[in-house]
């Protein structure tokens, strides 16, 4: 890291905004790189993300909570349980994924088609797409976002779930 990260929050408001933004960006980059879609807080504390072994410095858990909350507000994070011990992390927001998926559907002229979730993320046709290999949890949320816009509908198929695009 070329930048000098200040571990606890900065008192200067403007600086703090920048500081938080930098942390959020780091978390998302890290998760994208390691293809990690979900994590527990305890895992996070010990991961290289928040634990710099070389510097022997750890981000205190209170600060981690603040960073995670910021990610949640931005739409990149969702708590998976009430006690906030594990979370879903999406380096792209569900709406953004939904848009990408719908663009592909439109481009390939496959409106009004039905897909299984597996087909979308692991099918041959989507190999070149960014959403190829996307984890199911994120995919579902992406499709739910499209559903809200009446561009898709999540349906039940023979061995699981699928989606119909409009």
């Amino acid at each position: 890291m070329a930048m000098s990260f200040e571990w606890p929050l900065q008192p200067n408001v403007d600086t703090r905004q920048k500081q938080l933004a930098a942390w959020c960006s780091l978390v998302l980059s890290f998760c994208r790189l390691h293809k990690q879609s979900s994590m527990t807080v305890m895992e996070a504390q010990e991961s290289p993300l928040f634990n710099n072994v070389k510097l022997q410095r750890k981000l205190p858990v209170e600060s981690i909570q603040i960073v995670l909350e910021e990610l949640r507000k931005k739409g990149n994070l969702e708590w998976l349980d009430k006690s906030k011990s594990s979370f879903l992390i999406m380096w792209r927001r569900p709406e953004e994924w939904g848009k990408l998926i719908y663009q592909w559907v439109s481009r390939s002229g496959q409106n009004n088609s039905v897909f299984t979730l597996y087909e979308l993320t692991n099918g041959e046709d989507t190999e070149d797409e960014e959403f190829h290999g996307l984890d199911e949890a994120t995919l579902l949320r992406a499709l739910q976002a499209l559903q809200q816009e009446h561009k898709a509908e999540i349906i039940t198929v023979s061995d699981g779930r699928g989606v119909k695009f409009f």
Binding site: S4, E6, P8, N12, T15
Partner: protein
């Protein structure tokens, strides 16, 4: 006039002074005698007269010896008087100015006024008779026989010896008092010359100006004078604690309270003096020269921190030659302005150039 006894004039324990008046002359009956200018003192037990020119000449009568008193109004060329009618002197009376007298009354003439009040107080004491409730030493008791074990000097020789002893005692007391006084005067003179060297001829005191705004205004003006040079020597800024110490050292006596200092400093700007009081967010108070711009100092602070990569308040203070308190305030101001950011860990508080803002 034979009722008077010689006395040192010092009050006994349980004897309290009620009133005193200068410029009193004593008459033996209607006759003028040599005791023409003295201070008349009324205590709870006695009436004491002390010669104004010769303080050793001091005599008294017991209030219990007074039968009654009368007022005599002033006339043309005549002062107001009090006429004091007395019981006969007891046979074992202590020595006084007169061994015998044909008069059973004396007159007290108030040449410098004060007769009315004195008469009032004397009447009061005569009515209250406080001497009966507050016993004093045996030497003041009336109508007592010879005390066993007491050395009675007999005759004229004895009287003269007693007088001599009393005078020696008084002499000794006076010279001791003067010794202390001269020591005090030397100290005062030394202080005064020190003050003059600091440029303070007469320290502004609450006595001179009373308490309140006037006092603080004058004080503010004096502070501006004292602090100009020290401020310049310290880069234009000093903490209020430093100011407090400096000013009180200069004053020597009549020290300023912290409240007075703060109140005076609050007026500096309003009085358009060349310094001002500034309070930082942390609550730290400083005095700055009007010409001093702390915000500009921040730019140079940033340079210093950048050169070294990061600095703590102590490191910065040492580099720049400032007190740690003021160094910290400068770094905090730089942080507030967005030039620096912090790293607060167990190892301490460190400041870094704020790359969050400068590098996207």
């Amino acid at each position: 006039m034979d009722r008077f006894v010689w006395t040192s004039g010092l009050l006994e324990i349980n004897e309290t002074l009620v009133i005193q008046q200068r410029g009193v002359r004593i008459y033996d009956g209607e006759e003028k005698i040599k005791f023409d200018a003295g201070t008349l003192l009324l205590s709870t037990h006695r009436l004491i007269w002390r010669d104004q020119k010769n303080h050793e000449c001091c005599m008294a009568i017991l209030l219990s010896q007074i039968v009654f008193i009368e007022e005599q109004a002033a006339g043309i060329g005549k002062s107001a008087k009090i006429v004091v009618h007395l019981h006969p002197a007891p046979p074992n009376k202590e020595p006084g100015p007169f061994q015998s007298s044909k008069n059973s009354y004396i007159k007290l003439s108030f040449k410098e006024h004060g007769q009315i009040e004195f008469y009032r107080r004397l009447s009061e004491e005569m009515t209250q008779r406080r001497w009966e409730n507050m016993p004093v030493s045996q030497s003041l008791q009336t109508n007592r026989g010879p005390q066993p074990g007491r050395i009675r000097a007999v005759g004229i020789v004895g009287i003269e010896r007693k007088l001599e002893e009393k005078r020696k005692e008084t002499d000794k007391n006076i010279s001791e008092a003067f010794e202390d006084l001269s020591k005090l005067m030397i100290k005062t003179i030394r202080f005064k010359s020190y003050l003059l060297s600091m440029g303070i001829a007469n320290p502004v005191t609450r006595e001179t100006y009373g308490s309140g705004t006037q006092y603080h205004m004058q004080l503010a003006k004096q502070l501006a004078g004292i602090l100009q040079v020290p401020l310049e020597e310290r880069g234009g800024i000093m903490s209020l604690t430093e100011v407090y110490c400096l000013v009180n050292r200069a004053r020597g006596m009549e020290l300023l309270s912290p409240e007075d200092l703060v109140n005076a400093c609050k007026m500096l700007e309003a009085l358009k003096l060349p310094l001002r009081l500034r309070v930082f967010d942390s609550g730290v108070m400083v005095i700055e020269l009007q010409s001093h711009k702390e915000e500009e100092m921040v730019a140079s602070a940033l340079e210093t921190v950048s050169e070294k990569g990061s600095l703590t308040s102590e490191e910065f203070a040492k580099l720049v030659g400032m007190s740690v308190l003021l160094a910290k305030e400068r770094l905090l101001l730089a942080e507030k302005m967005g030039h620096l950011c912090r790293d607060d860990s167990v190892e301490g508080l460190r400041f870094y150039p704020n790359l969050f803002m400068t590098q996207s």
